[in-house]
């Protein structure tokens, strides 16, 4: 009897209070969707970081005939090039792979990257400098090799790709913090809404609760129907939020973005699905705490 009695109380309460319940569900859904989005962005950034940092290289550009750097006196000579290479080799294991790219190879790669672009006509085969492309054990070790190479004769400049990416990731991180802040604000609104809904429900049913108290119902069993109502609304809200995230992953990421932007590592299904239980947990815990606190105040024991 206990569960069917409770189920009847809960569904009756929800129906009687339909508009409030709907508002509650929508509010929970919106705040949890934002919360889920923030979590998803974090996974996306982590994934991109992992992907790009794995491929990050340091380019050591060598002097060309017209280089202006103080370490350059015309194009790099064979002995300078050999000395630079020897220095790089001595920096192992910080330096993991060394790959030499000549002017012609650089031009070939450039042509491939900008296929069909008008920029090609402005760049001659000799315009691109030769370079050592170096892979580090950890991209953070850039400074170590930069300090030992930057004053060597024949080195024009040293470029850290990580710096470029870092800016990009900072922007993503800012967006993610913003989404999280909005999610927290929305969650706060949700808490207020839960409190208000429960307060109204407790007032509307003060007759029932006074009768329950008179016949000796325990505090827990008087409060449980109200708490379960809030929890039911939260579960519906969390389900909607999960559905939106899953729909976003399928319709936006998988069907539209991923085919176009193949170089970007997109969040996986596993990373999306791992968020779902969190949405339910946050929704349910919020509902239980907010309604519990309210009932403690408005239903005297």
């Amino acid at each position: 009897m206990r569960t069917s009695f409770l189920a009847r109380e809960v569904s009756g309460g929800l129906r009687r209070n339909f508009t409030m319940t709907l508002a509650l569900i929508v509010s929970v859904a919106v705040s949890l969707t934002l919360f889920g989005t923030a979590l998803l962005m974090r996974s996306q950034v982590d994934r991109m970081k992992g992907y790009w940092y794995d491929r990050i290289e340091v380019s050591v550009f060598l002097c060309g005939p017209n280089s202006l750097a103080y370490t350059c006196t015309g194009a790099v000579t064979d002995s300078q090039r050999a000395a630079i290479k020897a220095e790089l080799v001595s920096l192992k294991p910080t330096v993991q792979h060394i790959y030499y790219e000549s002017t012609t190879e650089a031009f070939k790669r450039f042509k491939e990257q900008f296929k069909g672009s008008s920029i090609l006509s402005q760049v001659g085969p000799d315009a691109l400098p030769e370079s050592f492309r170096v892979k580090l054990d950890d991209p953070k070790n850039f400074d170590k090799i930069a300090s030992s190479l930057k004053s060597m004769q024949g080195v024009e400049s040293i470029q850290d790709q990580r710096k470029l990416l870092e800016r990009f990731f900072q922007i993503l991180k800012g967006l993610q913090t913003f989404a999280l802040a909005v999610a927290v604000a929305m969650l706060f609104v949700t808490v207020l809404l839960v409190m208000n809904t429960v307060r109204v429900a407790a007032f509307a049913r003060r007759r029932e609760t006074s009768i329950m108290r008179a016949v000796g119902a325990s505090n827990a069993s008087i409060r449980l129907p109200f708490i379960m109502e809030a929890v039911t609304a939260a579960v519906f809200g969390a389900a909607l939020a999960s559905a939106s995230l899953i729909a976003f992953k399928y319709f936006v990421i998988d069907l539209r973005l991923a085919p176009k932007w193949t170089v970007i590592a997109w969040v996986t299904w596993q990373e999306v699905l791992v968020i779902v239980p969190w949405l339910f947990a946050v929704g349910i815990v919020t509902a239980v705490l907010a309604s519990g606190v309210t009932l403690r105040r408005y239903l005297k024991g």
């Binding site: 009897m1 206990r2 009695f5 009756g12 007759r207 029932e208 006074s210 009768i211 329950m212 108290r213 008179a214 016949v215 000796g216 119902a217 325990s218 505090n219 069993s221 024991g301």
Partner: protein, 230 residues
């Protein structure tokens, strides 16, 4: 069974105690009328017994237990030992007669089979076995109060508290409710009933405890209300 020992009750923000130095003993099986004009403290006395309120001073004990000191979490179990009837019936408007009575059992976790067996018995006792599917709005006042009585009695409490149970009923209907209370009393249930219905009190010839401005001014076996000139 019930003992009030120098009990006073003063509500917050009032300058006069609602109950003033009450001493009262009620034995198991007694039928006691609490009489007195409006505001004399009858409801307050009953609320102290339900542990809805706690005395400002003195002790209220039931079966030797000081209920003012009862821990909050033990109050529900304590209330299950008593039945309570109100002047305004307090039925759930959207539940049938059967469900209203069953509510008293559901709330304390009785099984469905117990409910199916016990509720018809009690409805028969109060003479409503034909009307178990009706809603409270489809019943007369007297019938509604019978449902409330059935709910109060369904768990067979040892003590039944009734606060002006006939206050909203006409005299002939009231007589029916009183007969029912008398029957319940004869099963051994102690009854405390607050009322200012002179006719009923005089007819029943039970113990009368009269309150005036929070003090007991009369405690008489087999009394008649009229004696002090009300």
């Amino acid at each position: 069974m019930i003992r009030f020992d120098h009990v006073s009750k003063q509500y917050k923000n009032t300058n006069r105690p609602a109950l003033n130095d009450i001493d009262l003993t009620v034995e198991q099986g007694d039928f006691v009328f609490l009489v007195g004009s409006s505001g004399s403290g009858k409801s307050s006395l009953l609320r102290l017994l339900q542990r809805e309120e706690i005395p400002t001073s003195g002790t209220v004990s039931v079966d030797g237990i000081d209920i003012g000191k009862l821990a909050n979490r033990k109050v529900p179990a304590f209330r299950r030992t008593m039945g309570i009837v109100f002047q305004d019936f307090r039925l759930l408007p959207n539940r049938t007669v059967f469900d209203n009575v069953a509510f008293g059992m559901e709330v304390i976790g009785q099984s469905r089979s117990e409910i199916q067996q016990r509720v018809p018995e009690v409805l028969e006792l109060v003479g409503l076995e034909e009307k178990e599917k009706r809603l409270p709005t489809e019943l007369s006042g007297g019938e509604q109060q019978r449902v409330a009585l059935a709910r109060a009695f369904v768990n067979q409490p040892r003590l039944l508290l009734a606060d002006e149970p006939t206050g909203n009923l006409d005299p002939s209907t009231s007589v029916g409710i009183m007969k029912l209370l008398d029957r319940i009393n004869r099963t051994g249930t102690t009854i405390l009933m607050a009322t200012h219905d002179v006719a009923i009190v005089d007819q029943m010839r039970k113990r009368i405890v009269q309150l005036d401005a929070g003090r007991i001014v009369r405690d008489q076996e087999r009394g008649i209300y009229g004696h002090t000139g009300f």
